[in-house]
Symmetry: C2
Subunit: 368 residues, 2 copies
């Protein structure tokens, strides 16, 4: 089946980098937080090989920020996550599951602490701004909650450190994993964090002010010309190999953090301010959980709906939520939600892919 | 510029009708409430001519429902809208602006009352479920809030009444505008309303249970074969001509209902339970407002970002949010947010369209 076109409107927002992304020859998009997220430049496979060998600049403006500022800021964020935030340092970034009162996942952002009373929640794909506004209004909290004009630009790949060194200096390269520093770019203070949605290493610059987007893009491309810097984007092959989950694909509101394999971020004894705490205590022993799986039978078609897993009696065993052919591992790498009876590594199952039935093996770890 | 492709994933959800929509030759999509919304079948212009002369079946599953049930249901909905809901009848549908505590618009759904303690909020494009959950948690309300498995299917066009008569009977055709009746389809009770996002007349069937989607689709196409029933979708030309606003395009959180021209739905004296009431009282006299405008200079290109309006001194006068060539009116029909100094009918302005600067005239009404 050929890919459908994405129709133009202003409701799916352009980004501060859209013109540069188009000039770089973007071929596909998805929509994410009511905004354009590039998905393909040359081809998914060519982009993948380049990401693993050089350095890419990614327009990840879709990681919209919810800024929460004020005396009750920490209290409000803690209401939404079972991860204990009390010891978070001022320069720290936390990956946090966000849950509702039933313990269902609403988002899995990176939380950036800017000060004791100021946070940025760097979102995956859902309108968390609405949830924070609702809670803030309902509990009468002393906070301001809004979406600032901040658009992350990721610099990812094995040569990301070198590019960042050239543009921002060695001090920035010394930033520890999931910590951020402040840099002055185009006369504006911005934070840059050692983070990003790949396992190839790199940084995310939180571009503060849309008007600076193109100038910063150009600086990075000029400085990295001999590093073969290219426009890139989160790569499905690389992120599935690495086990980076995608909210809305691999887990939704129907899943707890335990089911999503994020139990280590649930500090139920201490994060008592989380509104989902009581519900999560009852849901600590999941009967289904995310597993890396390998799918046989040659290159799988594009996944656009969950593919059912079956055991060897033909009974339901879960579903596949992400799957793609990996050139490096010469197999189909995939993420699945697997029932407890079948989730042991080595278990053989069957998946009803759109083209045919295929054999599947549960793995003990992702391709890392 | 050629249209970009929309990349496959399960995060942008398929609908109960997706296979039928594909079989009907859908050519373009947009994303709306994390779901696929068809935008083109034959061409936007051919679809438009057909919508105005025959009958179409639209997959508008993207109008996701938030179900609010329980003793505090009315109280919760009223918190979010300045429209007075007290006299709403049990079979009534209300178009409501939804606002935050600052009076900014969060959505403009159709609210369906199912019982005194049960509502469906039939959404435009934002995660209102999150706002309702946040408010409900914060205020400790006695309600349940969730997204039911309900997917609207619209039947629109001048021959919609005839098709509905054949399938659902004359009693349903007698339904008044923005009222609903209950029908039993595929053994399931469903509501059907005289409503829809066109000015051509018709109904929306709230398909209750995804498993019934294809069977219902097929029944409509069999019954309407001699009416030239076709798969269709909301049509940009028809909806702009008719002045149907699109949330995210024509108004956003940055606009009040007064700015969006929805002042008649703001009952500030009586809807005192609305959390935005106090803010809206201070914002009743807008300095910018939505206006129908006509754009000269031949067929405009696709609009994918707001186009700035200028007065004859070159000063900012607002922006165009939706624009397209109308074959029936032989002009570019458009929706703009226009500053007060320039919003009088007949005012001449200039718009910076992507291809060239064009003359613009403010109109007194839409093309109806």
């Amino acid at each position: 089946m050929s890919l459908p076109f994405l129709t133009a409107s202003s409701r799916i927002r352009r980004t501060p980098f859209s013109r540069r992304v188009e000039a770089a020859g973007v071929k596909g998009y998805t929509c994410y937080n009511h905004m354009h997220l590039p998905t393909i430049f040359r081809s998914v496979e060519e982009d993948y090989a380049h990401l693993k060998s050089a350095v890419q600049v990614w327009d990840v403006s879709v990681e919209r920020q919810v800024e929460i500022t004020g005396p009750d800021a920490l209290k409000l964020v803690q209401m939404t996550t079972p991860r204990d935030l009390r010891r978070m340092a001022d320069d720290q970034c936390f990956y946090i599951p966000i849950v509702d009162h039933r313990g269902g996942m609403l988002n899995d952002p990176v939380l950036n602490k800017l000060a004791d009373d100021r946070f940025w929640v760097s979102l995956s794909d859902s309108d968390m701004l609405y949830y924070y506004m609702g809670l803030s209004n309902g509990f009468g909290l002393n906070v301001e909650v809004f979406e600032p004009d901040v658009s992350p630009l990721a610099i990812q790949g094995p040569k990301a450190d070198e590019l960042v060194r050239r543009v921002f200096g060695s001090d920035v390269v010394d930033t520890r994993f999931f910590r951020h520093k402040t840099v002055t770019v185009e006369g504006e203070e911005m934070i840059i964090a050692r983070s990003g949605w790949s396992l190839q290493g790199g940084f995310e610059l939180y571009v503060n002010g849309s008007e600076h987007g193109e100038a910063i893009w150009d600086v990075l491309f000029e400085a990295g010309a001999d590093l073969d810097v290219r426009a890139g984007c989160p790569n499905s092959i690389e992120r599935i190999e690495g086990g980076l989950l995608s909210y809305g694909n691999d887990m939704t509101m129907d899943h707890t953090p335990f089911e999503a394999g994020l139990g280590k971020f649930c500090h139920l004894e201490t994060a008592t301010g989380c509104l989902g705490n009581a519900a999560l205590r009852k849901r600590q022993d999941p009967v289904r959980q995310i597993r890396p799986i390998e799918i046989d039978g040659g290159k799988v078609p594009s996944l656009n709906t969950l593919w059912p897993l079956k055991d060897n009696s033909g009974d339901p065993a879960g579903h596949v939520s992400s799957a793609i052919w990996s050139p490096d591992f010469q197999t189909n790498v995939a993420i699945a939600m697997v029932h407890k009876a079948h989730w042991a590594p080595g278990t053989e199952l069957t998946v009803d892919a759109p083209d045919k039935s295929r054999s599947v093996r549960v793995r003990d770890k992702f391709w890392i």
